[in-house]
Amino acid sequence: MNSDLEDMLREGMERFTADLRAPAGLIRHAAQRRRRRLALRSVTGAATALTAGAVALVAVILPGAPAAPATGIDATAYVVQHVSSALTAAEPGDIAQIAVTRSVTTGGKTVTTTAQEWSYGDQWRSVTNSSAGQPLYDEGYSAAGVYTLVSYLTRTWARERGIGHPTAPAAIGLLLLRPGIKAWLPGLFRLRPAHPNGAVLVPRLCLPVVSASPLLFQPGLPALGFSAGLQAAAGFSAPSLPAARALRNAIACGILADAGRQSVGGIETIKLKSRPNSPISETIWVTPHNYLPVRVVITSSASSDGTPVVRQTADIAWLQPTAQNLAKLSVPIPAGYRRVSLIKVLLGIAKRTGPRLAGNLPLRLLYGKPW
């Protein structure tokens, strides 16, 4: 019987698995998973260096974020941090040069930082400055997917390959919140459900999004379209959706409304405004002929409970990809700076900036390839 049982077990195993074929791309998927893990580890390490105060500062509560009953989403909130690279989506042939001014007001005290960003295809660079206008750090991705971070604070720099391009812009993150947890960390979240067992985004046109910004800020540098999560959120099935078309869709869906014409920096624009009851107020000025944004102002709602109010202005210029302009996408390494590990640079920035600038830490490392 023993031998019979063993034979039958062996044959059963053979039969049971006879039709199984390993999925294609095992190595590719493994590499992607590894990149995500490394990125997560880097950020987790940096995050541990933050003080509780820092975390308290970057966590912002968006009061009154409306629920989205049509999709079963408990609450939806969009997060504003940097106005980032994402605008590449609009015109792949041009370099987006974005001047960002970001102010966080807590308890009547306002901290303002500025950043200069460039984005072009797979390449992206951002220089973050202090309130006094001094450069704090410079970071960027090369076309070959190499991430470089230079800290002017510690005179160190790091370079790492294979972390992956940011697929969600630092400017905008989306967190689908569980009831009662109306808090988010800027930049830490991708455009996808925050909890695997939580809310599920159901593809449907004109979902009750609270902001048009995610439609505008393309969360994937290399591509022209949305991330998979955003596509699901927005209900668009098209593989790509340029910013101009996304804006038109936002208007059609009532997320944005035409608020007339206005001149911005000498450019005649159409002013688009979000709904009055939106938890994030946004105003976008676009050029009439191609709907390309030239200025975006985003403000989170004020509240009486001490929640920081974030206001961010991005002025966007579209540059021709000349050699001179393309050079702006490279992160220069100043002479005499010491090369150290990426985590050391991150920790150095976190220590020096403290809670006041915590929200501006180069946490883009978290953004891996699409999940």
Partner: protein, 182 residues
């Protein structure tokens, strides 16, 4: 299967070639260890990820490494890491073959299903012994335990399977070949 080598730097193409040749078999092992195709694929993916991490300097037998990782993940680490998915009964998986008309073939299928009711360690031993056809000593080396432990685990596993099979046979006799009570 590529033999052991001592090259200091292996190319990804080499790993690709190896997986082209052996990934199906390893997936089958993973599915037998976990009980579902989905979990098996996840397990294999994790094992490949671990191999990839050290591949350039890897000096050993990749199949043995992957097999050992699969077993370790299935019996311990994978579950402890919280990624262990809900164990699925083979009855519910799409990988189950259509039943043959004969009771004997049904019993073979049933044995594999019953395998999943065993503790992970016993299941791993039986999979390695009867699917991978490793010896007791090879199984012990792979699982990192004594040969005696393998023998006892295999023996207990088979004994348990026999009990379950007897229960199953009795029920099948009562219900008839099509599962209806006769």
């Amino acid at each position: 299967m590529p033999a052991n080598r001592s090259s200091a730097d292996r190319s990804t193409a080499e790993l690709e070639r190896f997986l082209t040749e052996r990934a199906d078999h390893l997936l089958r092992t993973a599915v037998l260890l976990t009980g579902s195709r989905e979990t098996g694929e996840d397990l294999l993916q994790t094992a490949v990820e671990r191999l990839l991490r050290r591949w350039r300097r890897f000096d050993g037998n990749p199949e043995a490494y992957l097999r050992r990782t699969l077993c370790n993940l299935a019996t311990d680490g994978y579950r402890r890491a919280g990624r262990w998915r809900q164990k699925e009964r083979l009855l519910r998986t799409g990988a189950v073959q259509a039943h043959d008309a004969t009771g004997e073939v049904d019993l073979r299928d049933a044995l594999v299903r019953l395998l999943l009711q065993l503790p992970a360690r016993q299941r791993a031993v039986l999979v390695l012994r009867y699917w991978e056809q490793l010896t007791d000593s090879e199984t012990a080396a792979l699982l990192g335990c004594a040969e005696g432990s393998v023998k006892s685990a295999g023996s207990r596993g088979l004994a348990r399977l026999r009990e379950l099979a007897e229960d199953w046979t009795d029920t099948a006799a009562l219900c008839g070949p099509n599962g209806k009570r006769s």
